[in-house]
């Protein structure tokens, strides 16, 4: 009974969200066709969608998306490791907690793109520069999330863990990470969104000077060539990837973990 209701409401959500998306597309198409705006600047949705599907079919959009995704993936992985290390470091005592807090308040407000000149000086026109920018924009909000999670672990969970003989890494892996999992997941989600944005932004700057390009570079280039439909097709790609990752990847992880354990915060 409970299960039935649940799958019914998931089904409903999908239908409703799908309906909203379709309406937005339809609205776009109507506005474009009404002729209020210059069609060169505001192409029809159908034209954009057609170009999108053509470029997906010939593999071009997929190829450049994969370039961006691989950058994001590397950036996220590095950030995840560093953010976890920093968060656990902060739990080791007052001094380290203050240290991490100071680092956070120095670096968190700093926009990644403002660090680009520095990154170029340090890493040159390489992938490493973009990964550096991504990691910078991901690590700090992630640390805040993770640290909140670690602090929210009920003491009794730790005590039971110690009682059954867990220490150090085993205690972290066996008790602390699962107990903090709602915050860890939300940190990773925030990180993913940040990484996506800063990767596109960094590529737009880098692509202009000729590195092998991803979506950001493609957006920059299409605008330069006045290929507005191409620009919008690339933007559409960003949205589609965002929705797929959010709705399929993160939702399915949540359904299998924190939602199943009723550990939603």
């Amino acid at each position: 009974m409970l299960n039935n209701n649940k799958s019914e409401s998931i089904y409903k959500t999908i239908i409703q969200k799908g309906f909203i998306l379709l309406s937005l597309m339809f609205l776009w198409e109507l506005i474009a066709r009404s002729g209020i705006f210059n069609e060169l600047l505001f192409p029809r949705f159908s034209t954009i969608a057609l170009s999108f599907f053509q470029q997906v079919q010939n593999g071009y959009l997929i190829e450049i998306t994969l370039v961006s995704l691989s950058l994001i993936f590397k950036g996220l992985l590095i950030s995840l490791i560093i953010a976890l290390l920093l968060s656990f470091l902060a739990m080791m005592g007052n001094f380290f907690h203050n240290l991490v807090e100071v680092l956070n308040s120095i670096f968190h407000p700093l926009p990644g793109i403002a660090l680009l000149p520095v990154a170029m000086l340090w890493f040159g026109l390489s992938e490493a520069s973009i990964i550096f920018i991504i990691a910078h924009s991901v690590i700090w909000p992630m640390v805040i999330s993770f640290l909140t999670g670690l602090k929210s672990i009920p003491r009794i969970n730790i005590e039971v863990g110690q009682n059954i003989g867990l220490k150090g890494p085993a205690l972290i892996w066996g008790v602390m990470l699962p107990a903090a999992s709602p915050y860890i997941l939300s940190g990773i989600k925030i990180g993913w969104a940040r990484a996506w944005r800063s990767a596109i932004a960094a590529e737009m700057v880098f692509g202009a000077v000729g590195t092998a390009g991803g979506l950001g570079w493609h957006i920059f280039k299409t605008r330069y060539d006045f290929d507005i439909v191409g620009t919008f097709a690339a933007l559409l790609t960003i949205m589609v990837v965002g929705i797929v990752v959010e709705e399929l990847f993160f939702n399915s992880i949540e359904n299998r973990t924190i939602k199943r354990w009723n550990m939603i915060v």
């Binding site: 009920p154 005590e159 039971v160 110690q162 009682n163 059954i164 003989g165 066996g174 107990a179 009723n262």
Partner: protein, 246 residues
């Protein structure tokens, strides 16, 4: 086995140091069923937490097999007071099996013990439930099964049957005694229920409201102990009076 020697414990509450335990001295012999009986707020949980290694004593010493207790350990398994001691991310059987896995017990034996203690506490039909899907008493029983399955040399139990119905409570009391005899575990059992202390305890230590030892009572009644047996009523009255004075 367990020496509690002149233990005192104080907490700082709102800047003022409050004495919760003072001059607690007793010893628990190997294989004994030892009950701590006292009114609410008398420091029973605090003492158990000191013995478990979760709190440091302010004065005195606690020795287990001649080693001073300083940290939690697998040689003293604690059943905590309350409902929130299960791992929310593990099922009932997962909660029981995981500590066995951590302690290197083979898969086959893990399965066996988990099954055994699950049915012992009457939860075999709930093996795949997550803690949030359980009632308070069911959570408590899972925690008891988890502790028993580890078959530790010393069991520290803080009002483990506090929230169970009379029948479940009696079943579990009987089973606990049986398991204790089978495995030769020593049990230190906190309760504020006089009948429970008489039913279970070989010895009963009575706490005062101020966190001192009032008296220690030997309980030589034959088992099983039922209220109608000779000696039960006078023991009950004796404990009741001791608890009541001052």
């Amino acid at each position: 086995m367990l020496y509690i020697d002149n233990v005192g414990k104080s907490f700082i509450n709102n800047g003022i140091s409050v004495n919760v335990l003072s001059n607690i001295t007793f010893r628990v012999l190997s294989g004994e069923f030892f009950c701590l009986l006292g009114p609410s707020g008398s420091g029973k949980t605090t003492l158990l937490r000191c013995i478990g290694g979760y709190e440091k004593v302010t004065s005195g010493t606690i020795k287990l097999n001649n080693h001073t207790v300083s940290a939690p350990g697998i040689d003293r398994i604690m059943v905590f007071q309350g409902f929130d001691q299960l791992f929310a991310w593990k099922t009932v059987s997962g909660n029981i099996e995981y500590p066995l896995k951590v302690n290197g017990i083979s898969r086959v034996e893990r399965r066996e013990r988990t099954e055994k203690y699950l049915s012992l506490v009457g939860l075999h039909n709930y093996a795949n439930y997550y803690p949030f899907q359980l009632s308070g008493g069911m959570k408590q029983r899972t925690a008891i099964a988890r502790a028993l399955a580890l078959e530790p040399p010393l069991l520290l139990m803080d009002e483990p049957f506090g929230n169970l119905d009379a029948i479940t409570r009696h079943t579990l009391q009987r089973e606990l005694l049986r398991i204790k005899d089978e495995t030769n575990t020593t049990v230190l059992f906190v309760t504020h229920d006089i009948d429970e202390a008489i039913t279970l305890g070989d010895r009963i230590l009575i706490f005062s409201r101020q966190g001192t030892v009032k008296s220690q009572i030997e309980n030589n009644l034959n088992r099983p102990r039922i209220p109608s047996m000779p000696g039960y009523a006078s023991l009950w009255a004796n404990i009741y009076e001791t608890l009541g004075e001052g």
